[in-house]
């Protein structure tokens, strides 16, 4: 199975081709978010370098957020256009999960000794002192089983950490999957780009949680981890979404004050699945769910 991988959610424009779950060719441009032309240049170059035509790929994995509105829009529109012409499936991949897997990969490579039980926390600046955050746990020897410890979420930075602390102290059973209570020994917290001022420091978090804390900056999500998440979806092991159902994930949109503020919240499509929600889905969801925030 040959997959085209696209990640335009953050400050790196990541494109790659994979075959049999391995990256065979990748192009990555760091820098600011000028994707409008860059992405297409990179995809062309990839196809040329690997002498592959667009009709010779079997599927597309595309990060669908959260992240830069502009970047995501270009990436998803590109994925959809290519998929439409060659009738390809698209696997949408959550930015936060991808970044957690990237941190895990780096962890495994760096540490010779077995990893202690670790939660990986991925943070993204959502502006106005808000952040996108998610936490996933990786049992040491059991790579495929990732558990959502903190669902992808957007809100005030302080609230996120309060919520995370609650989960750590309560030690409640994981939200999905019925996994037994397992308090981690260690937290790895990472984000893309420069560290926003309102993110807590390593010392603050060590004091607060009483755990080993490791902070990682410049986490953009590897192409390798994209493949890992896309293969089960594209090979039919996990359900995929119709191309028109795939939309930018979970960002809050500033709307005029009337009649109501629609908070687009991620719909959890399963413990191991990438998350996606379309605007239409979100609206239907909001219409039937009074428990969601409406201010």
């Amino acid at each position: 199975m040959r997959i085209l991988l696209i990640n335009t959610a953050l400050d790196h424009c990541v494109t790659a081709l994979s075959e049999g779950g391995k990256i065979v060719c990748s192009l990555e441009t760091p820098g600011r978010r000028a994707y409008a032309n860059l992405l297409f240049r990179q995809i062309r170059e990839l196809f040329d370098a690997d002498t592959v035509a667009a009709n010779e790929i079997d599927g597309i994995a595309c990060v669908n957020g959260p992240g830069s509105f502009t970047g995501l829009r270009v990436g998803l529109a590109a994925a959809k256009g290519l998929a439409l012409v060659h009738d390809l499936p698209i696997a949408p991949v959550n930015t936060l999960l991808n970044c957690c897997l990237t941190m895990y990969d780096a962890d495994v490579r760096e540490r010779m000794t077995p990893l202690p039980s670790t939660w990986y926390v991925s943070l993204l600046d959502a502006r106005n002192e808000r952040l996108y955050g998610a936490a996933y746990a990786a049992p040491v020897s059991d790579r495929p089983h990732w558990y959502i410890e903190h669902e992808p979420w957007v809100g005030a930075a302080a609230d996120f950490f309060d919520c995370l602390e609650q989960r750590l102290t309560d030690g409640v059973v994981s939200l999905v999957g019925g996994r037994p209570n397992c308090r981690p020994e260690r937290l790895v917290i990472g984000w893309a780009g420069a560290r926003p001022e309102y993110f807590p420091t390593e010392e603050e978090l060590t004091d607060r949680f009483g755990l080993e804390i490791a902070m990682r900056s410049g986490i953009y999500g590897f192409a390798e981890t994209l493949v890992e998440m896309a293969v089960p979806v594209l090979s039919g092991m996990l359900p995929t979404a119709e191309a028109d159902e795939i939309a930018v994930l979970s960002d809050e949109v500033d709307l005029p004050s009337t009649p109501k503020r629609v908070e687009l919240t991620a719909v959890n499509a399963g413990n191991l699945l990438p998350l996606y929600v379309s605007l239409a889905q979100a609206e239907r969801f909001l219409a039937t769910s009074p428990s969601l925030p409406n201010s």
Partner: protein, 358 residues
């Protein structure tokens, strides 16, 4: 005459006959400059084989206007189903097409970028040429649909975003002769309609009232600028002030006052257009005036244009209503002529330009 399905029409047009072995050139057009997601296939720049528009009117009504971020998201969701529908209806495949034409400006940056990125991916996947079309050139090209009209002619483009008088010297050669320096005609209509509680977009409601009122009832200012510019901001302010200072009353009284207000207001919107057109028609010597853009739906404006046409003896051309408002057929039509003339074909980079001019 029995109406043909798009599929039958496409089959007929693409079929080779002994007398006509020239295959028509078919262009896929994509338009996402504002809130409508539109895709169309047009043959030889004049015959529309299929078209589909996904509108966001409900969302717009909900928020009293277009919300750019929602518009962009809706485009991203609608582009695939709308394109599929157009292809399915015509039974055409990618290899039957000769190019993909897409609006790259002016418009909402995020909305433009979504359609443009989608179009780039289509051309990357198919090898078809990418034709970048200026939305305003598209509005002018609406005049070619279902007609034999050829440049040169004079064009009036009046919509929510534009009020321009353009000399169309050739399919790709435009000369702006008059333009708005602030608000566009459609924009001021929508603002006043919102103030009057007539909904969004409210141009049609104002137009309906205007036809029943006395255009000379109120004296609104016309900005007389000798530089070929319109200005509607003074008019908008004057109208809003009038509404604040005067009570429209209730019931029948209100209806009558509202009609007079709207008629006087429309007259003040239309007068500078007509004045500039009259001057430009005589200066250019062009014998045809093509009118397009959403405001060309206005019966009040059409009445004044007909009077102008009778006075000056020019041919007045207004495309079918669905090609006056934003649509993809006009983009495909303009794309066809650009492809033929080798203008605006982009093998590589093309940026969305929110403030693109002709």
């Amino acid at each position: 005459m029995a109406t043909k399905t798009p599929r039958e029409a496409a089959a007929e047009i693409t079929a080779k006959t002994p007398t006509n072995d020239k295959q028509p050139t078919m262009i896929l057009g994509i338009e996402t400059s504002c809130d409508d997601t539109a895709v169309a296939i047009v043959a030889d720049g004049r015959r529309v084989l299929a078209e589909h528009i996904a509108s966001q009117d409900e969302l717009n009504r909900l928020y009293g206007g277009v919300v750019p971020e929602l518009a962009s998201r809706r485009h991203l969701e609608m582009l695939v189903p709308v394109t599929k529908k157009v292809l399915r209806e015509t039974d055409l495949t990618w290899s039957d097409l000769s190019g993909v034409a897409v609006t790259y400006g002016p418009g909402l940056a995020g909305a433009l970028l979504t359609g443009l990125s989608f179009a780039k991916a289509l051309t990357l996947a198919t090898g078809l040429p990418l034709i970048g079309v200026n939305h305003l050139a598209g509005h002018i090209a609406a005049n070619y649909i279902d007609t034999d009209l050829e440049p040169p002619f004079l064009a009036l483009v009046v919509s929510g975003g534009n009020s321009q008088i353009v000399r169309v010297n050739d399919y790709v050669d435009f000369e702006i002769r008059a333009d708005t320096r602030d608000d566009a005609a459609g924009e001021v209509l929508d603002k006043i309609a919102r103030e009057l509680g007539l909904g969004f977009p409210g141009g049609a409601a104002i137009d309906a009232y205007a036809l029943k009122g006395v255009p000379t009832a109120l004296d609104f200012p016309r900005a007389r600028l000798d530089t070929g510019e319109f200005s509607y901001s003074g008019l908008k302010t004057a109208a809003l002030q009038w509404l604040r200072r005067n009570d429209l009353g209730e019931g029948e009284l209100r209806e009558g006052r509202l009609a007079d207000f709207c008629a006087s207001y429309m007259q003040a919107v239309v007068d500078p257009l007509i004045d500039n057109l009259r001057a430009e028609l005589s200066a250019s010597g062009y014998g045809t005036l093509g009118v397009s853009g959403g405001v060309s739906a206005s019966r009040f404006l059409r009445r004044e244009l007909r009077i102008l046409a009778e006075e000056t003896g020019i041919k007045l051309h207004i495309p079918a209503m669905r090609y006056c408002t934003d649509n993809a057929a006009m983009i495909a039509a303009q794309g066809y002529f650009q492809l033929k003339l080798g203008s605006g074909i982009y093998p590589g980079d093309l940026d969305a330009v929110a403030n693109l001019t002709l």
